[in-house]
């Protein structure tokens, strides 16, 4: 394994690449992300205004509403979803949105779970890719 490779656990298999958007605080997609634009709209969230669209979204876990799976699915339909979702803790509700997207639209962001030390090492803005085996590669 190269230095820039991290092995994650696959929650929903997929591949995707993009710049890392790193959230230190958990985010509820429902009430937190506008699926029409992919922007974070939760005014209490420190990254309010940032876009998750096409990014490798690194966040600890989701929180709050059980409708977050709906918002992720809608973002997949519209084309504003993240390229991949990289979690530190198991989040059934975001994985669910991705699993249903795969069933319905035959595409979804990969969802992977990283060990906490590896999760902490992923830098904001780095170019990253995730493959179907759950391997996260970081350029540079």
């Amino acid at each position: 394994m190269n230095d820039g490779e991290l092995r994650g656990g696959v929650l929903v298999a997929g591949s995707g690449a993009g710049p890392v958007l790193r959230l230190e605080e958990p985010l509820s997609f429902w009430g937190g992300v506008d699926p029409a634009t992919g922007r974070i709209i939760d005014r209490r969230h420190p990254r309010c205004g940032a876009s998750v669209s096409g990014r490798v979204l690194v966040l600890p876990y989701g929180r709050g509403s059980s409708s977050s799976s709906s918002v992720l699915l809608e973002a997949v339909r519209v084309g504003t979803a993240p390229a991949a979702i990289v979690l530190r803790e198991l989040d059934g509700i975001l994985a669910l949105g991705a699993a249903v997207a795969r069933e319905l639209y035959e595409r979804s962001p990969a969802v992977v779970l990283l060990a906490p030390a590896d999760w902490s090492a992923v830098r904001e803005g780095a170019e990253a890719s995730v493959d179907v085996s759950g391997c996260l590669r970081i350029a540079g």
Binding site: V12, A95, S133
Partner: protein, 437 residues
């Protein structure tokens, strides 16, 4: 590492396999594929039987939800267990209450009709536990809607994991759910104790105490199971408000209130015979800080005597949906202090409470005072409010206080029921100093 394939590792019955292979129709196959995939995500080794479901996926968030429901309907979906529906995007009894576009109305209605076509009961409420026969103690169910989940687990002692949109209907169609989380006794013991017993008596009797405690608990305990000490006298509507706030601020799906909830006759029972992982003495200052975070207007939590200068544009009550008891508390206060014409006053409830109100003539009395009573939906999930966003909304609901700023673009002031009514009467924020620490 590549995940082990759940279709290999999850133990499936003959009926599960028959559903997977399409013997029970294409919809059952889709539902079972999603369930098995999610069993893999959760690390479950098997599925278990459920006896009821509550569906959150009937609320319109965009065309994808309709696409999914139509896929199921086209595949011949029928629910196998008694299944109730959460709020939809429209008040079907009062269509004039809808303030959105014609296109959105059509799609929200289409989604509601799809779930009805699958055989779900059309109660359209986030408080199903106050309308239809309740799940029994220990019964396995699959519920979505965060406040309903926490009520079913905590107050009824039924067993559901914290489910989201889509897996809820998959469980209802198959009668199965992953054997994980709060379905299993070993995951239901309390972990974090919140000790309220040293709070001053006046505070413990404050009408806003339970949602405020719920918000604090949600923030402090994330997804662990809290145990509350000192709530022996809490009534059902109070526990409902507490749970809804805790499930908004955190990912709380189960709490124990010693002396009030069925799995907590004693502290030892609530903790499952183990030591608490953390013990938090709740002080008046913690409550005050929690109250400040519930409001988004800076000085709104500071009581400033009888009449404040802050203008109130909307008062919204009923998240979770108002019960007949809550209406009985509201009515005499409204009659003494009817809302000013400048204030939009909305109460969200369900058809059971509405029928109750109609029978006694109370609905006409409320409407006569300018109160709008909305059923089947709610003001933070559907375009109901007529006041343009950007104003100030006051509520006694921790859940409305949490979601109104992001979802409908209002600043929020949290207060007691009586303060909400008196503020609506004055058109300006009114605090009862006797209620505040």
């Amino acid at each position: 590492m590549a995940a082990p394939d759940p279709f290999e590792t999850v133990e499936l019955t003959d009926l599960d396999r028959a559903m997977l292979s399409g013997d029970h129709g294409e919809a059952a196959a889709v539902a079972m594929r999603i369930l098995v995939a999610m069993a893999g995500v959760y690390g479950a080794d098997r599925l278990l039987d459920i006896e009821g479901a509550h569906i959150d996926g009937c609320l319109y968030h965009g065309d994808s939800g309709v696409d999914f429901a139509e896929l199921l309907v086209a595949g011949g979906a029928r629910v196998r267990v008694p299944t109730t529906l959460n709020v939809g995007g429209l008040d079907l009894l009062h269509p004039e209450e809808f303030a959105g576009t014609a296109e959105r109305r059509v799609k929200a209605l289409r989604l509601m009709e799809c779930y009805e076509a699958m055989g779900c009961r059309t109660i359209w409420t986030c408080a199903p536990y106050q309308t239809t026969p309740r799940p029994a103690f220990g019964q396995q169910i699959a519920w979505a809607e965060s406040n309903a989940i926490v009520f079913a687990n905590s107050v009824l002692g039924a067993r559901t994991h914290r489910y989201g949109d889509f897996i809820d209907i998959c469980a209802a169609i198959t009668g199965r759910a992953p054997a994980v989380g709060f379905h299993l006794a070993e995951n239901r013991r309390g972990q974090v104790v919140f000790d309220l017993r040293s709070l001053p008596h006046a505070l413990r009797a404050a009408p806003w105490l339970l949602p405020a405690i719920g918000y604090l608990v949600g923030e402090r305990c994330a997804n662990r199971v809290p145990v509350l000490l000192g709530l022996e006298d809490a009534d059902e509507d109070g526990l409902k408000a507490l749970g809804a706030a805790a499930a908004s601020a955190g990912a709380v799906a189960l709490f124990h209130a010693v002396g009030s909830t069925p799995e907590a006759p004693t502290l030892e029972a609530a903790l499952g015979g183990r030591d608490a992982e953390e013990w938090i003495e709740v002080a008046a200052a913690d409550l005050r800080a929690g109250l400040r975070r519930l409001s988004t207007v800076r000085d709104a939590a500071a009581p400033d005597g009888v009449a404040g200068s802050l203008r109130i544009d909307v008062v919204a009550l009923g998240s979770p949906h108002f019960s007949p008891r809550e209406f009985a508390e509201l009515l005499p206060i409204i009659e003494r202090h009817p809302p000013a014409e400048s204030v939009e006053f909305v109460v969200c409830t369900n058809r059971v409470s509405l029928a109750h109100l109609e029978r006694g003539g109370d609905l006409e009395r409320l409407r006569g005072h300018g109160v709008r009573v909305v059923v089947d939906t709610c003001v933070v999930v559907a375009p109901i409010l007529r006041t343009p966003s950007g104003g100030v909304l006051m509520t006694n609901s921790g859940k409305f206080a949490h979601y109104a700023p992001g979802n409908v673009g209002f600043d929020v002031v949290f207060g007691s029921l009586s303060e909400c009514v008196q503020s609506a009467h004055a058109g300006r924020l009114r605090r009862d100093p006797a209620l505040w620490p």
